[in-house]
Symmetry: C2
Subunit: 215 residues, 2 copies
């Protein structure tokens, strides 16, 4: 497979982990988001949304939106499974994943940050209050649910990695970048640490991708 | 089934349509979001996120997040199907649905609007610039994709209603409430009109739910 991505993209990170865990060979094409590559005609013809990831599986149209791609990979490459078997457990995994991918991550992407600065004239430091509110709201909900719901195990749902863990770690990575205090979220931290210990996650890590700053 | 919802919630609207199309009997319990019912301990025990919808299917934990609920309903009540059969078509439906449910709707929910007004001291009219930007970005992407991608038919994917259409109409309904110019989005409008003509959608319409203002 071939994926347009960017080392910094939380959504591309999720997809890389799934590809690694399922043992699917892929090539990642680095899109320079700072240079605005995502808004150039060549890429807009691939994804009119001007966003990564965009995944090509052989011929055929590009696949976009990280959660849609994760479900596609699950349906076309069921091994190793990243969703549990029962409908209720699957619904819980998807709900946890969507706390991140719907209600948290879209609030802190560059286009939102830029709109706040450009439209309202906010300096970067004040704009970041919006971003930090998104992070802490998402982390608080995850912590509350993961620390109280019966389904939680070594990972978000039992002892197997699922879409919820891919989303969790894609959020967690941002806490370092944006200086978010992680002390109030011990259960999220425990699961993030378990994820980071996996080779498939380590290889997918943002800082190990093309274009990332040197360590 | 029993659903905690609110007439105004775009996410609850999506779930109501699915329940109606699948012929699943349900009772909706009105949660007064203006009175802050979603943040009272009784409801936070159901959904720590303080958000609707929350669906109960018999005994067992509440189901939350509208897209997760739609997939749960699809898995437990496959008739009438609201996802196409092939993985690529399913991925396209999910991607279109997520343009709305991940990248558009979460940007204009009350908690975001309130944060902008309270934290930055923006008057309502200036806050609405953020909301209108979210709407027009989402609508522009949908229009571009639906008017150019081969999969589009009478509905978003071919001639059968899918999750993408449920999300599309849940966004469309907001254009009237927030005074968004819909003229640049003729393909979105055509599909929205086809949706509104369905009895299952008409019965799920926000203005026909408990708590809605009189026409």
């Amino acid at each position: 497979m071939k994926m347009y991505g960017n080392w910094r993209s939380a959504a591309a990170f999720r997809v890389r982990i799934a590809l690694n865990l399922k043992g699917i060979a892929y090539e990642e094409i680095f899109l320079d988001l700072d240079a605005g590559d995502q808004f150039k005609p060549d890429f807009l013809a691939i994804n009119p949304q001007g966003a990564v990831p965009a995944l090509f599986d052989g011929e055929g149209a590009p696949l976009t939106q990280s959660l849609a791609i994760l479900d596609y990979l699950e349906e076309t490459h069921p091994e190793v499974p990243l969703l549990p078997a029962g409908p209720r457990a699957r619904a819980r995994v998807r709900s946890l994943a969507q706390v991140v991918a719907c209600d948290t991550h879209p609030l802190y992407v560059p286009r939102v940050r830029n709109f706040l600065m450009e439209n309202y004239g906010l300096p970067r430091e004040r704009m970041l209050e919006f971003l930090r509110n998104a992070f802490t709201t998402g982390l608080r909900i995850l912590e509350k649910r993961l620390s109280t719901e019966a389904g939680t195990g070594r990972f978000c749902e039992g002892d197997a990695v699922s879409h919820a863990d891919l989303c969790l770690i894609s959020l967690w990575i941002g806490t370092g970048i944006f200086g978010i205090d992680t002390e109030p979220y011990p259960t999220v931290k425990r699961i993030a640490d378990a994820m980071l210990a996996l080779d498939a996650v380590a290889r997918a890590h943002p800082l190990r991708q093309p274009g990332a700053p040197a360590p």
